[in-house]
């Protein structure tokens, strides 16, 4: 069975794409909904607030990368809070990752099913998607990151496409600016924080980077680029649809891309190509989530009955994919998930961002007490 050599598995560029692609694809299709619902006309201001709130995560990641070089969070947590607590912590953290993976898969399948293949059985689409994801995740982090890197043109295409509907943009639709109380913006920012959830992957991915000193600047670069793209997109979509208009759609960006009118284009609408570009980026994102989930579980050191060695991540990957494929058959449909979206967001936030912050505090306290004694 293949084992991953963490040492120098990711060059700085591959590390960047490993963070950038999931951050871009994760909530791209529906993120303007939150800002528009919570804040209203200037809902796009939720993005800078969320960006500001996500920044400390990169700082925390930097702290851990410097203190525990070459170790993933799953490995250094027991060193900070002890074995039992560490195990529980890791289980909760990986549970959070599993939750957002399933939620994201549900979104991807929902879009594919709703717009492109509504005649195929849903179970078939799910199995196809999960099978395809397992195939690439099985080959390890380098292959997963290479795929993310190769799909950069698709990300570039999304970046360009969100500029094209500006032909229908109206300034009045985004006015007035700053008309709401500050608390509303803060609330909008907190609720939009889920956009940056994939950033939590730094805690695992940093261990694979061949140049540790680049982890922090590259994480900042990925975060900054995503912020810029989302912010421009958010302003654009509000200017085209108005905040009220955005809330009417399940996938506002899908509708946004449909407003592009390119004469002599091969397809009836650019939206299709937009959808496909996002689809392949999502595929890459899911492979990244799957890989880190399986690898994280493998690092917990679970052992099978007849073996002394911990179960390899490839075996876990296969078991995990079967569980996820099964779970997708029984999870409530997208509309119900959306109805409880804020709870999913909150739990996800607590597990993926809250836990590392807590661990950071524990780490500081540990150092403080160690120095004192």
């Amino acid at each position: 069975m293949k084992r991953i050599n963490k040492h120098k598995a990711l060059s700085p560029r591959l590390f960047f794409f490993l963070l950038f692609t999931p951050c871009l694809a994760f909530t791209f299709m529906y993120f303007p909904l939150t800002g528009a619902r919570v804040i209203g006309t200037d809902g796009y201001l939720a993005i800078p607030v969320a960006f500001g709130l996500a920044l400390p995560i990169t700082m925390v990641a930097r702290h851990f990368t410097n203190h525990y070089p070459g170790l993933t969070m799953i490995e250094y947590t027991p060193l900070i809070i002890g074995k039992t607590l560490g195990f529980l912590y890791n289980l909760l953290y990986l549970g959070g990752l599993l939750m957002i993976t399933i939620a994201f898969l549900q979104e991807v399948i929902g879009i594919a099913y709703g717009f492109l293949i509504n005649r195929a059985p849903l179970s078939f689409v799910t199995l196809l998607m999960v099978g395809a994801v397992v195939y690439i995740s099985y080959y390890g982090i380098t292959s997963v990151a290479r795929l993310a890197s190769f799909l950069f043109p698709a990300a570039l295409f999304l970046g360009v496409t969100i500029l094209l509907p500006f032909q229908n943009w109206r300034l009045l639709n985004i006015l007035p600016i700053g008309g709401e109380p500050i608390g509303t913006y803060l609330n909008g920012g907190i609720q939009s924080l889920y956009i940056f959830y994939p950033l939590t992957l730094i805690f695992q991915a940093a261990a694979f980077a061949d140049r540790r000193e680049k982890v922090f600047p590259l994480s900042l670069l990925a975060l900054g680029l995503i912020f810029l793209l989302y912010f421009v997109n958010s302003i654009g979509i509000t200017g085209v649809f108005t905040a009220e208009g955005i809330t009417r759609y399940l996938w506002p960006n899908m509708e946004y891309s449909r407003t592009i009118d390119l004469p002599f284009f091969l397809f009836e609408e650019v939206g299709l190509v937009f959808n496909i570009a996002w689809g392949v980026l999502s595929y890459s994102t899911i492979t990244i989530f799957f890989f880190f989930l399986a690898h994280g579980l493998a690092e917990l050191g679970l052992k099978s009955k007849n073996s002394r060695n911990p179960v390899s991540y490839q075996k876990i990957l296969i078991i995990l994919s079967s569980i996820i494929a099964g779970a997708l058959q029984f999870t409530p449909d997208l509309n119900i998930i959306r109805a409880h979206f804020s709870s999913v967001q909150m739990v996800g936030g607590l597990l993926l961002f809250g836990l590392p912050l807590l661990l950071f505090l524990c780490s500081l306290l540990r150092v403080y007490f160690w120095r004192k004694t």
């Binding site: 060059s11 560029r13 591959l14 794409f17 594919a112 492109l116 293949i117 195929a120 689409v125 196809l128 998607m129 395809a132 195939y135 690439i136 080959y139 380098t142 292959s143 997963v144 990151a145 290479r146 795929l147 890197s149 190769f150 799909l151 950069f152 284009f265 091969l266 397809f267 009836e268 609408e269 299709l272 496909i276 689809g279 392949v280 595929y283 492979t287």
Partner: protein, 500 residues
């Protein structure tokens, strides 16, 4: 050893083949036997190149008590243009005999002199039919190893060009040569090539394709992870990038490692034609390849599964043209694709003149007839013809074949799930290529991992005066390729200005 005794031993070792020649001689009172395999040696030159010098040598040592062919004596005194060796072991002698060496046996010596005088028929270097170029040398490799290495040596007159020999194949004892530039090729790469070749245990290597399959990184992939070429300029360019060439005796196809998929779409011709035209050719290949792979699948997806995505006027046109055609689009597409495959295979086996006539008949007459008879609609025919022609726009046949097969997967994916199926299948193929490596180099480089410096020479052709550094993709030891090539031009201009 008396000549009869060695003859007997050889007979035991190699049987008594029909083409084994024994020439009994009596020169200067010495009884000698010249043994060789007819056809492998230049028989008409034996008298001049072997027997004459031998007679001269025997005249010089007349009356001496020493062993006739002792190493100290014989080799320096034998004045002959051919390579000579002194052997003691009859098994070794039999091995050389089978390679085309001439053995000389005397009852006065325990040694067996062997002289190399190869004489089998060779074809002269000619332009490889599968890798034609508008500009550039017309010489391709042949089946002769020496000839092939000479072709490379005529390009690279660098003392650091290393040529290392290996023998693989228990029965065929095929000679393999490894060529690389010692100060460019990464030592790890050279070691890895040696390691993989040494690990081979087969009884026969009949063509370089055998090695290609045995030393590849991933045996189950459809993509070529080793580049095979018959063009000497391509091999030379590869050596200058720090890659390793593997030459196999009796095979005109030289293997180059490592390789990236990007490399398979480049041709040395790109650099002979100027960078504008070179870049245009590369772009055309890229577009052609994508058209060839994606067009049939996209056509099936858009017309059969997702017609709502086509502009209405185009959809109506296609629907109008397909009226009264009985088969679904996917059947039509597969039917034409299969017919093209059959025509292609037939054209390869037919004589050239018949093949061109066959091409016209099948292409025009049959195409027209199938549309008229209501079997295949004309849009399907147009799509498939464009796809087929585009498939061979790339300079590498092996990668074209890979895409030729994968095209069917894309068609099936499209027929099942429309545009989504096409995207998923394409993403899967892409994912598969992302897992591939060729001798430690990512197959998708310089796209993934992204190497901006190398990427500047990937979709377009970088001007030669900007190619100051070698591609980092192959990790050469020395990155610097050239200095400032415009220096002379600049000084000339300065002089001109001063004169003014």
């Amino acid at each position: 050893m008396p000549p009869e005794a060695l003859s007997h031993k050889l007979q035991k070792l190699i049987g008594n083949p029909w083409d084994l020649a024994h020439r009994n001689l009596c020169l200067n009172g010495q009884r000698l036997e010249v043994i060789y395999l007819r056809g492998l040696v230049k028989e008409e030159r034996i008298d001049q190149a072997v027997i004459g010098p031998l007679q001269d040598f025997l005249a010089t040592i007349e009356g001496s008590d020493q062993d006739l062919f002792s190493t100290d004596n014989f080799l320096p005194a034998l004045r002959t243009a051919t390579e000579a060796r002194i052997l003691q072991d009859p098994k070794q002698a039999a091995g050389l005999l089978l390679e085309g060496w001439i053995l000389i046996v005397s009852n006065e010596s325990k040694f067996i002199p062997a002289l190399y005088l190869p004489g089998w028929t060779k074809r002269p270097p000619s332009e490889p039919p599968g890798e034609k170029a508008l500009r550039g040398p017309r010489e391709g490799f042949t089946e002769d190893l020496l000839e092939n290495i000479t072709l490379i040596r005529r390009w690279i007159k660098d003392p650091r060009l290393r040529v290392e020999e290996k023998t693989i194949g228990k029965r065929t004892k095929t000679k393999i040569l490894l060529a690389f530039l010692a100060d460019l090729a990464s030592p790890e790469l050279v070691r890895e090539v040696h390691k993989r070749l040494d690990a081979i245990e087969v009884d026969a290597v009949l063509e370089s394709g055998y090695l290609e399959e045995l030393i590849t990184d991933e045996r189950l992939t459809i993509f070529p992870l080793i580049q095979a070429t018959e063009r000497s300029d391509k091999v030379t360019a590869a050596l200058l990038e720090g890659r390793v060439a593997i030459l196999v005796d009796k095979s005109p196809r030289v293997l180059l490692v490592p390789v990236t998929i990007n490399e398979l779409y480049q041709s040395p011709e790109d650099y002979y034609l100027g960078y504008w035209l070179g870049s245009l050719l590369r772009m055309i290949r890229l577009i052609g390849n994508n058209l060839a792979i994606l067009l049939p699948g996209l056509y099936v997806a858009l017309v059969q599964v997702n017609p709502e995505l086509l502009p209405s006027h185009l959809l109506l046109n296609i629907a109008g043209l397909r009226e009264n055609f009985p088969f679904p689009i996917v059947v039509e597409v597969l039917f034409v694709a299969l017919a093209v495959e059959i025509f292609y295979e037939s054209a390869l086996r037919l004589p050239q003149s018949v093949a061109s006539v066959g091409g016209v008949v099948s292409g025009i007459v049959l195409g027209y007839a199938t549309v008229q008879s209501g079997i295949i609609s004309s849009p399907t025919l147009v799509v498939m013809i464009i796809s087929t022609i585009s498939l061979y726009s790339g300079p590498n046949y092996d990668v074209s074949i890979a895409w030729r097969i994968l095209k069917y997967l894309l068609i099936l994916g499209s027929a099942l799930l429309g545009v989504f199926g096409l995207a998923v299948t394409a993403a899967l193929i892409l994912a598969h290529t992302a897992t591939l490596q060729s001798f430690g180099v990512s197959y998708l480089a310089p796209w993934a991992p992204l190497q901006p410096a190398a990427l500047s020479d990937a979709p377009v052709r970088k001007p030669l005066w900007l190619k100051k550094r070698r591609l980092s993709t192959y990790r050469p030891q020395e990155m610097r390729r050239q200095g400032n090539t415009r220096q002379e031009d600049i000084s000339f201009r300065k002089e001109d200005e001063e004169n003014k």
